[in-house]
Amino acid sequence: MRPTPAANLVRVAGVTLLILWSLGPIVMGVMTSMSTQPETQQVPARWIPEDPTLDNYRALLGGEKISSDDAAADSSQYGRAIVNTALATVVTTAIVLAISVCAGYGFSRTEFKGSKQLLWIVLATMVIPIFTIVVALYKLMAELQLINTFAGLVLVYASSTAPLAIWLFYNYVRDLPPDPEEAALIDGCTRFGAFRRVVLPQMRSGIAALTAIVMLFVWGQFLIPLLLTSTEETKPVTVIITEFIGKYTTNYPLLTAAGILAVIPPAIIALVLNRHIRGMLSAGG
């Protein structure tokens, strides 16, 4: 049925509001990031900078030092933090995918003694909220000497996303018909060959969706790294940004510029893989 003009108007208005609601803060952030520090403190507030400047971005990306005097971190540390975050994201995603694709396939296609129980245990860990175990986690990581290490961080990220990933792939593979794999076995493949040549290609969109989900999850992590990292070599961008806030003064243009830069990579991931995420989330769970 064709919507009436009135219904159409309501819809357009609704969508417009929604866009303003979600983009508004970002637009304000961009404006602020191009203002000067004094401009941000004017009363009444001034939204559009008189003389837009990209100095903050230049400082953040170029390693120049800008900061509030009383803040713990300055702009020169930003580049390293972005690299830390990106590295953790990529490595975690690779590990989680490798584990969960195999485990999901294994759980759904083979049965061994205790396989059902094992799957249940893996899935049960999903329901434990991370903040209930932070203290224990900290102690454990300290014990293992993994505080302030990249490996420790990735270990925690991977083990907190893998169960969800395994579960998604478990369902995904279970819904794939088993016949093509068997046809491949008869056509000359080994079990692994059939998995690689027939199953894996069919899991492509699932893998794409999971890549996005894990990447977005790791990129935004704050509590875990706040707890487990305190060195410049390991701190991610989420932690560094908060350290731009000084005790008494805060360089808002710098802070917002850092924020804007930090949302660009996840925004790109979401844009590129958006189709697959929707497919995965709506696929009969």
Binding site: I186, D187, G188, T190
Partner: protein, 395 residues
């Protein structure tokens, strides 16, 4: 000797269920063997054991003279056509057909020419670049066939490859598959639950029930001399009518009494069944194929019986007339707890024999009306007799 040989092959599933119970089967080189039976009888399981997708728990399987019992599927040199076709969704038709050759490490140019050849045999050259989802059911079926023939394997295995097609295409493909198989002369084990398919396609047909082969023979043998009531009722469409009767000796001749109707078995026929005399005075189960009834107008005909027509179906060329037992027999059947019920209990797992409705196939120009009497003659040379205790044919 090549071909496919199964020697006392069994399959017991982990839950203890024995799906296949000591099957022996010998598909000769170039032979088309149809494996037919009701749902759940173990056809697919048998085929999967030959393919290596399921491990045989006992017995030996040989393909092309090699003992393959313990080999993985890829080393058995068989090709299988699945009921679901099992095409590789992410590959083009060309990729699907050539996949097995690629796995065998064949050079690209040779793969291309073999794929083109297979495609032209199956008349789907113009479909080679499509993906499976862009094909109709019949076309997918062809791709699955192409994938099998292109490899020139030692054996073909097919699991109900036509059951997802519409009736017309199914009949067409029956002919095409048999013609193709004759041409490439590869031993074929073809699973179906459809007896018509088995009878029209198979050089020989094996009838399976509950994991056991009930009878194995050419279509003609199965039709003419079924080994037992199961085979008798399974082969032929509509199924053979099975009725309880009594074997009597009248004036030294074997006579079968069904209710008050009498069928005198010709001496030559009786002589051919040496066991028959031993049944004198005993219950027997009488099998009459629908096509062995003849409509007679003459009320004086002694071999004829009266029936009351309950339903008739005209298929154009032929007419099916349904009736509930012979009119003469009715009174007796109601009185004594005999009649058709006995047959049902002798083989009570056979749906086909439990029905009390019988059917006759008559000429299209017969005039019958529902509710009216109709006089039918039974061809006495075509009567099948079974031992109601063992359900086996009386030889």
């Amino acid at each position: 000797m090549s071909g496919i040989q199964l020697e006392r092959v069994s399959k017991e599933f982990p839950n203890g269920f024995v799906a296949v119970d000591g099957i022996s089967l010998d598909v000769a080189d170039g032979e088309f063997m149809a494996l037919v039976g009701p749902s759940g009888c173990g056809k697919t399981t048998t085929l999967r054991m030959v393919a290596g997708l399921e491990e045989a728990t006992a017995g030996t399987i040989r393909i092309g003279d090699r003992d393959v019992t313990d080999l993985p599927p890829r080393k058995r040199d068989v090709a299988m056509v699945f009921q679901s076709y099992a095409l590789y969704a992410h590959m083009s038709v060309r990729g699907n057909i050539g996949f097995g050759l690629k796995m065998a490490g064949m050079p690209k140019a040779e793969i291309a020419s073999r794929v083109d050849e297979a495609a032209s045999i199956l008349g789907m050259t113009e479909l080679l670049d499509r993906k499976p989802r862009e094909l109709s059911g019949g076309q997918r079926q062809r791709v699955a066939m192409g994938r099998a023939i292109v490899r020139r394997p030692a054996a073909f295995l097919m699991d109900e490859p036509l059951s997802n097609l519409d009736a017309k295409l199914r009949v067409e493909m029956r002919g095409e598959i048999t013609a193709l198989q004759r041409r490439i002369e590869t031993p074929t084990l073809y699973v179906t639950h459809d007896q018509t398919e088995a009878m029209t396609m198979g050089d020989r047909v094996a009838i399976l029930r509950d994991g056991v082969i009930e009878q194995l023979g050419t279509p003609g043998e199965l039709y003419e001399s079924p080994a037992n009531m199961f085979v008798a009722s399974f082969i032929g469409s509509p199924a053979m009518n099975l009725i309880n009767g009594r074997c009597e000796m009248v004036d030294g001749r074997v006579t079968i009494a069904i209710g008050e109707a009498r069928i005198t078995i010709p001496d030559a026929v009786a002589a051919a069944h040496s066991e028959l005399r031993g049944f004198a005075g005993r219950e027997v189960c009488v099998g009459i194929r629908p096509e062995d009834f003849i409509d007679v107008a003459d009320p004086a005909d002694d071999d004829a019986v009266d029936v009351v027509v309950t339903r008739s179906e005209s298929l154009g060329a032929e007419l099916f007339v349904y009736f509930e037992e012979f009119a003469h027999a009715r009174a007796q059947a109601a009185g004594a707890a005999g009649g058709l019920g006995n047959v049902g209990s002798a083989v009570d797992d056979l749906e086909a024999t439990c029905r009390s409705t019988m059917v006759a196939r008559l000429d299209r120009d017969c005039e019958v009306a529902v509710g009216e009497r109709c006089r039918l003659r039974i061809d006495p040379t075509r009567v099948y007799l079974f031992d109601p205790e063992t359900t086996g044919a009386i030889r």
